[in-house]
């Protein structure tokens, strides 16, 4: 699986089971040598500080967060993730081998 790319979009809050599912998928993919790009949007912005998510970031996960979602919720921009616009979502969908959304 080395060199394969996986894109993940998560829009649910960190309390929602789907948020955890997205992280577990990212973990499984990274363990298999897949390059993972994970974009947190909408309520998922509240979960970018999740300890497991940050651990994965340290192991190579490319973690993005929606700048608009952060601004709308007065969520502080930080180095927990790369805050960006929807052009990144477009890039992730277009350039990864597989894309999955957890909504």
């Amino acid at each position: 699986m080395d060199g394969k790319k996986l894109g993940i979009l998560i829009s649910t809050s960190p309390e929602n089971a789907k948020f955890k599912h997205g992280i577990r998928l990212a973990r499984a993919a990274i363990e298999r040598g897949v390059l993972v790009y994970l974009y947190c949007i909408d309520e998922a912005i509240h979960g970018i500080g999740d300890p497991e998510l940050q651990r994965l970031k340290g192991e190579g996960l490319k973690l993005f967060a929606c700048a608009y979602a952060a601004e709308k919720r007065r969520f502080p921009v930080s180095d927990l993730a790369a805050f960006s616009g929807l052009t990144i979502v477009s890039d992730i969908i277009a350039s990864t081998d597989k894309f999955v959304a957890f909504n």
Partner: protein, 116 residues
């Protein structure tokens, strides 16, 4: 070949901001011309297409972004069996009605199908 994505929006826009977020995502992705996207409103989500949706959670998104999507030749679809279709009195944009079979066939040919 560009990826083809179908966004199925079925949440109730009167109580959830998810339909607005889905429209915002489409409006933010389509202009980059890297991905082909089609939106289909189903069930109560159809109500987002009426001008009264301005009063829904994040309702300004529909008025702001739906016309922009149409400018990019992305007229929204509406599933014909949606019971809320008859409540659309003053649509924000023109839309196309599709049958469940048509939607299923199109979905089968897409790279990704996202549900909101």
């Amino acid at each position: 070949m560009k990826r083809q994505v179908l966004l199925i929006i079925s949440s109730d826009p009167r109580t959830s901001a998810r339909p607005a977020e889905a429209v915002r995502i489409a409006a933010g992705v389509v202009p980059w011309l890297e991905v082909r996207m089609q939106i289909c409103f189903c069930n109560e989500a159809v109500l987002a297409l009426d001008e009264l949706s301005a009063d829904f959670p994040d309702g300004d998104v529909f008025e702001q972004h739906l016309p922009r999507l149409v400018e990019h030749e992305l007229a929204p679809w509406v599933e014909r069996t949606s019971a809320s279709l008859k409540h659309i009195k003053n649509p924000l944009v023109s839309f196309k009605e599709v049958s469940t079979d048509q939607l299923a066939q199109f979905a089968a040919g897409c790279d990704y199908v996202l549900n909101f």
